[in-house]
């Protein structure tokens, strides 16, 4: 289960909407054992594409250091799909960098954004529940 405080949930979805027409992306900082996300780190999509994303490596380093300074770590990544489901693409699976991470997808295909989270281990995709605090 991934735990998202409501303001973090709103920040993720807001960053994704703000990135249209391209995909948007960012990193999630928090506590690995409890999967509680404390900080959303919106990043630039260096691919500047509606079909691909690349997290800006310089922003990744800053986010990683910031999380470490809080006694936390980067525990996942989020990105949007502008015209498809909130489900990892073959590219997402092939390039998933860390089996311990949470992979959050936000679909902007329909009127209302749809946010889902997955674990990707050895190429296998498993959806996990997302608990938004305050609901």
């Amino acid at each position: 289960m991934l735990r998202l405080p409501a303001p973090v949930h709103a920040q993720i979805v807001g960053h994704c909407l703000g990135g249209l027409p391209d995909e948007a992306c960012g990193l999630l900082g928090g506590d690995a054992p409890t999967a509680l996300v404390s900080t959303c780190y919106p990043t630039r999509n260096l691919a500047a594409s509606a079909k691909l994303y690349t997290v800006d490596p310089a922003q990744h380093l800053r986010a990683d250091r910031d999380a470490e300074s809080r006694g936390e770590q980067i525990i996942g990544v989020f990105h949007s799909h502008t015209h498809t489901d909130a489900y990892p693409s073959p590219t997402d699976v092939a390039q998933a960098p860390d089996p311990a991470w949470h992979y959050v997808l936000v679909s902007l295909r329909d009127t209302h954004p749809v946010l889902r989270s997955y674990r990707i281990v050895d190429g296998r995709i498993e959806e996990e529940p997302v608990l938004v605090d305050g609901r």
């Binding site: 079909k51 997290v55 990544v77 990105h79 390039q95 960098p97 311990a100």
Partner: protein, 91 residues
């Protein structure tokens, strides 16, 4: 010379769980080669078989991505910190 190397979470098990380790060399390439020699479980995850930087990792000297410096030939000095992070991308 010895420099600090910050490891991404995915490589920490290969270093006994440490988040930062020490490795030696005068260039980034030498430091990474020393790192892999010390922690063989990292082989293939940082450098490719031909010794070049793996495309799925980003390596920094202090604040700078080595791809915008001299890549593996980038010099390191006493007190520098090398960070390794996964390249995060998808579709």
């Amino acid at each position: 010379m010895p420099v600090a190397v910050r490891l991404p979470t995915v490589l920490r098990p290969a270093a006994g769980g440490s988040s930062t380790v020490t490795a030696s060399g005068s260039t980034v390439g030498e430091v990474l080669a020393d790192l892999v020699a010390t922690y063989p479980a990292m082989a293939g995850q940082v450098l490719t078989d031909d010794g070049s930087l793996h495309k799925f990792v980003n390596v920094y000297v202090n604040d700078d991505d080595v791809r915008y410096l001299d890549q593996l030939e980038t010099k390191v000095a006493d007190g520098d910190e090398i960070s390794i992070l996964p390249a995060v991308a998808g579709g």
